[in-house]
Each structure stands twice: as C-alpha cells, then as structure tokens.
Subunit: 295 residues, 2 copies
Amino acid sequence: MIVTVTLNPALDLTYPVDALVPHHTHRVTAVAERAGGKGLNVARVLHALGEPVLATGLLGGPTGSVVAGLLDADGVPATFTPISGDTRRTVAVVDHEDATGFWEPGPVVPAAEWSRFVEHFRDLIGRASVVTLCGSLPQGLPIDAYGVLTRLATEAGRPVLLDTSGPALRAGLAAGPAVAKPNASELSALVPQWSVTDVRALTSGTVVVTDGAAGLRAITPDQEYHCAPPAPITGNPTGAGDACTAALARGLRDRTPWPELLADAVALGAAAVASPVAGAFDPDVYHAMLAGAGC
Amino acid sequence: MIVTVTLNPALDLTYPVDALVPHHTHRVTAVAERAGGKGLNVARVLHALGEPVLATGLLGGPTGSVVAGLLDADGVPATFTPISGDTRRTVAVVDHEDATGFWEPGPVVPAAEWSRFVEHFRDLIGRASVVTLCGSLPQGLPIDAYGVLTRLATEAGRPVLLDTSGPALRAGLAAGPAVAKPNASELSALVPQWSVTDVRALTSGTVVVTDGAAGLRAITPDQEYHCAPPAPITGNPTGAGDACTAALARGLRDRTPWPELLADAVALGAAAVASPVAGAFDPDVYHAMLAGAGC
C-alpha cells in the first residue's frame, strides 16, 4: 500500500458568502468541513482510484478528532500519531469572485512527540510500497524532518515522493527522495532562474516541476521530459498538484515508464481542476485527458 | 443562584491580522478561542463578580465540547443539555481598523431535544433565584421558546430577564418577563419610533433599553428612568450589554431599588467596554463609574 504522511493536516472550513465586505458581519448559511492538507488530498485521490492507501501523520485535540472523523467518513484508512497540541483550522471565505483564506498557525510539536511519530513511521515502512511526504511542517519539528523520513524509507528500499516547499524542501531534496514535486514558484523560491544542472545539483533523485495549465517538466538524473494537457481546463486548481502526486506515487509503485507515468499525472491533475473540491477528480475528464496527453 | 440560559452558544474564534485583503490568503499567527454567546458572557461576568451562577442551554458535537471545556476553564459552573447537532463557530478577523465577522448558521434542534431541555430547565427552576434568557434561538426551536421558559419560571415565582431580538423578543415580551433588555435598535426593529405607551403595550414587565454611550432608559409599569455613565468610555462595546444584563440579574435577585440597580448596570456596562474581551470587565473602571453614575 501507499503510505501518505501528513505532518500538518488541517480542518478546512469553507464559508460561502455573497460578497466579502471588510469590517462587516457575514451570516454564513452553510459550512463545508473537510479533512485538509496536501497529504490527505493525495490519500483521498488514491482511495478514489481504488489503490490501497494508508494515511498517517500527526493529529491532536478536538480539531484533530474532527479531521480523523471526516477522513473515516471518506473511507480512507488512517493511523495517525496523537499529539498534545490542537490540529489547525483553515477558513476559506468564498464569494462570487474568489476565495479569501485564513490559515491558523497550527500546533507546536514537542520533540518527544516527533520521536514517537518516527518510531510509528519505522513500523509502517515494511508495509509500504511507496511513501509520500506532503505539505508544510508544524512548528517544533526539525527542518530536516522530511530528510529523516526519506532516509528511513530509502534505506528500507521504499521509494519516497516529496511535495513541500521552502527550507523543508531544500533539506528533503538533499536526502535524495525518488521524486520531488515542487511547483514552478516553489522551485524558483529555492533557485531563482534555475537550469537543469541547478536542479540536478539539489538532489540525486528526479524533480517533477508542475506549472499549472502549462503542464509539468520532469528532470531525472539522465533525462528530461515535458508534458502538457491536450486542452485547457477551467475550474478549481486547489488540489491539482496533489492529484499529480497521487498519480506519481502509483506510477513509482508500478515502475511505470516515465512518459506514460507523466501523462497519467498530467491527466489526473487536469481532472482534479475539473472537480470543485480538493482531493477529488472528475473521472470523465481524467479518461478524456489520458487519451490525449502525450510526453 | 442565577441561572443563565444560552440556547445558541458559539465557539468564538478571533484571528488577528495586519490587514484584511479580500481574495488573498492570511497567515494567522495567533488564535483566541472563547466560549461565546450573550448568556455565557452574562455567566462569566456574574462569576467574576463572585455571584453564584449556573450556565445552561444547548451544546452539541465537537465544537460544543470545546465550548464546554472553555467554560470549565473559566470556572463557570454549567449543566448543558446535549444536542445531536454541532454548536456553531463565529470567526472574527480583527485588523488595525475593525473586525470582520463570519457567523456559522448553527445546528437545527429537533423538537425532542428542545423538550428534553425544557424538562431540564423545569428541574433547575427550584434552585434558581433569577433566570436570564439571552441571545438568538437556534433553528428548529419554536419562536415562542423564550415565552415557554418565561412562563415556567414566572409561575414558579422566579423573575426572568430576557435579552434577545426580533420575533423571539416579541414573543418573549408577551409572556411578561420581569425585565426585557433590548438595545435601542432591537426595540426600534419591533416598534419604529416607539413611545412609552407603545413599550408598555408590549409587556407587563419592565423594559430596559440600552443605547451605547448614551446609557439606558428603563420603562417600568409605572415609572421611567434614564441613566448615563458619568464619562464616555472608549474600548470594545461587544459584551457591554451582557454586563448590563448581569448587573440587572443581580439587582432583581436582591430587589435593589431601580435607581441604584440601573446605576450599577450602567457602571458595569461601561467597565465592560473598558475590557478588551466580551464577558469581562475592568474592576477599576467599574468602581470609578459606580461612584459617578446617577439616575
């Protein structure tokens, strides 16, 4: 099974309003609650694809219990390490124009709780075919947290797929995950105006750079690929990168050749744009895109 | 003891931000969580005054558990009836200018759960010196819900203090609570350009109309009073009305003569404005105002 690690999950609350008017009070008529965080989106997409998946990471407090309940209602198998802090919320106020986001800082995780998770992760590796490490790190964790997990999985012969940003991405890349999947702006934040040589200097693995409607570039240790969707898709881009990650994880497990694997990732990402919520995809768009995507 | 009824409590979340920018994402660096709702503010103020108080009402779901935990941490004795729905959240995004509010709709309460609360309330009446009925009604409750509770308490010889608005206020007034405490705009919403005769036609009890910095007017069945703070107070007006209600409840219990009782309510309301959070007051301002307030 594919083990998805989410160290900083969230309870995503969506408040639809007619229009956001600063310094006024808005009566929200309906609230959507969703288990959020990149890794949980990856887990949901894999589960919807019928792939065996196990979600793990850190959850705590009453908000963590709500997230666990929502994930359970989605049918995603999960085994999270409990923490003393309270899992964060994100609030997205959506009006007819766009979304306005408010992201809580999330818990501070003590070293002892991080150690407990690492032990739990060590126990899970034997059952994993592939490991995905997605999203931001909560406060209190070492910046090399993803590096630590990458080395443990890699030593056990399990390929790792890393999707994060900033210093956590830089530190993780140095540990040589099989694939890292930054988006174009996350990669540029590490190396402005990067070249292929620059990217290969960051890691011994492959880097897949997603760039929205332009598709993706893959830089392996000895090859380069570019893959774009056959037609533009309009919709909700949130979670499209997570659908790509899900496709890449499945392809890593199956040792799918790069051109086929990348076409699948592009098609699933486009199908996620066509779905109104993150962590889901439109199966019709997926199959239509898959027929047309080429690398 | 004073029994405070809160049928539609909330988990109040406050997100401080530098500036609210629509259609952008805001990283909130600190989150304040508070047990919210007018009745809980009244309970906290009475508890801070050292008055015996018992908070009751409806709480449900994970958010209801958080509210119960926060109230417990504040030291306020409570006995809520559990409901199947999830207690609502309110989000206040506070920037350097003002607050922007997002109010969730709250649970829909089935008739059977309302009946269960009424039975619980009936059991509590014998232990009550005064009952306060504060705030909005959740969906599903009869619009006369406060009327039902007012009649039960009044028949048992317990004076009722009502603070709500709209149709729930109109229906509650008809049941003749000892005191109703609308603010000026809530009363005008019922009777535009009201006269003293209009107000007396609404209820057999006393109506205390609060009007911010202008103080309050009290219209008893046979008298009229006006009472203003001795000096203007700047600060946070949220919860000032609830502090007034707390003072009125204590005064009803002690049969304090109107002029003294109203001066106390004005002073405690002003002291609540001087406190940054609702449900609290500044004791120094309270005592200074009390020395100067006259009716």
